[in-house]
Subunit: 268 residues, 2 copies
């Protein structure tokens, strides 16, 4: 199975935690991890390569150098890395037909096999949207002219690479960014939603992109079905969305102890 | 290493979870699990035996039949099983010099080696007391004539079996129970404290008997030192004290997700 991650040195520790949880809960699978980056040092790459090999999987480095994204507009506080997951199809080997992108602030706590084998039909991506009404309303307002019904989270993206290569045009993306500079808050996610929402196959967020901040909300909304037992047995991706991260001091949350457990397994 | 558990059929599932956490976090050790009981069915014993064997350890059944505890007084709501951990030294093979008793509502999340090798000097037990002032005051009042300074928790007990065989007298225990019938709330724990408090070597509760209900209290009391990171790396026994148990519906607590994680590993 192909996994895509795009990050810089600051996220190498969370990456190892995420990968540890992926490997431990998918121990009958072998993964090829594509690491798309521009600035990670070779000795760090070697360490992560060794780590992945020890778990029976392999690393493929996708180095993005200065010759790329020359025409891409940049935004205050954001680097060109914001384009990586949207344009990954242009950088990955042409023989790859699909890949699963994962944010590093995720724990993978069950098998990814069923998602990976999803029939993607004519969709470019599969992703989950977070259905908390307040979030939805805010995002709808902000991107109003683009008429989106739901706001997909870009932390888990199953990519139909074959179709993406034929469809995704960097010029259209750059144009959109130029026009909406002031309005973009989470640039890659905003672009994904504004330009491709109708080409995204919707996944169940409680299974494939569970927002770890909202335990009580999910439980209430599901009339109690989505409780801790359900999550531990069914949720595949537990996503630590938001500013407060479980590897930081003074984090607090329902999945803190579980995160630290995997962190210890990953980092000692 | 010798581990003692005393329980009935209702606790076989939590027992498997506790043992799974013990085995996974002590994978270089081999254990002999002494299961002291009076009512567990042979087919259940066989299943637990197989489970323990699969993890490279072994089970020894210590069956207590009707001929025992004839003179022991019983209390409303409590059975003779309340005496098991206090009188285990009389039932275990005479060659055993020490054993570690563990409640089934515990997760073992780090190595038990250092505790097991503790110098017991002339103490009968090693145990931790829970230092929350309110609890302490209440217990002191209740058992006042016995002059105890602290109230030890009986969920984790390292036992000096050799010395116990010479010292512990069931008649004194039975006498104490007769005299204090009305006053006993948690009988075995009350007896332990009233009769043997001065023969108990005190252990650090944050390491050896962390009360999972009181995360914020421990963190505050330690000026932040005893945070989630510290616990995951240092605490050996995470004890789910109190009425609400993490295997029950609608439990809620800081270690809920971690418990359910081990529960899935143990029970599927």
């Amino acid at each position: 199975m192909n996994i895509l991650v795009t990050l810089n040195s600051n996220y190498l520790k969370p990456l190892k935690v995420m990968l540890t949880s992926l490997f431990l809960n998918n121990d009958d699978e072998s993964f090829t991890i594509y690491l798309m980056h521009s600035s990670i040092k070779q000795e760090e790459i070697q360490r992560i390569d060794q780590f992945i090999n020890e778990h029976g999987s392999q690393l493929v480095e996708v180095h993005v150098d200065d010759t790329h994204f020359n025409e891409a507009p940049v935004l205050l506080h954001y680097t060109k890395e914001m384009y990586y997951r949207l344009l990954a199809c242009k950088f990955l080997p042409p023989r790859l037909d699909r890949i699963l992108y994962l944010d590093p602030d995720i724990l993978v706590i069950n098998s990814v096999r069923q998602l990976y084998q999803l029939d993607m039909e004519e969709y470019l991506f599969a992703a989950a949207y977070h259905d908390k009404i307040s979030v939805k309303e805010i995002n709808k307002l902000r991107l109003t002219p683009y008429e989106i019904d739901v706001y997909y989270n870009s932390g888990v993206l199953l990519m139909n690479l074959e179709l993406q290569r034929q469809t995704i045009d960097e010029k259209i993306i750059y144009e959109f960014v130029e026009k909406n500079r002031a309005r973009l808050i989470m640039p890659d996610q905003d672009i994904l939603n504004a330009l491709y929402a109708k080409k995204i196959k919707a996944l169940d967020e409680t299974i494939y992109n569970y927002d770890a901040r909202f335990y009580n909300y999910y439980k209430l909304k599901s009339s109690g079905k989505c409780d801790m037992d359900f999550i531990i047995h069914n949720t595949v991706f537990l996503h630590f969305c938001g500013k407060k991260k479980p590897w930081q001091k003074n984090y607090s949350g329902k999945f803190h102890s579980l995160y630290k457990h995997y962190e210890k397994l990953a980092l000692g």
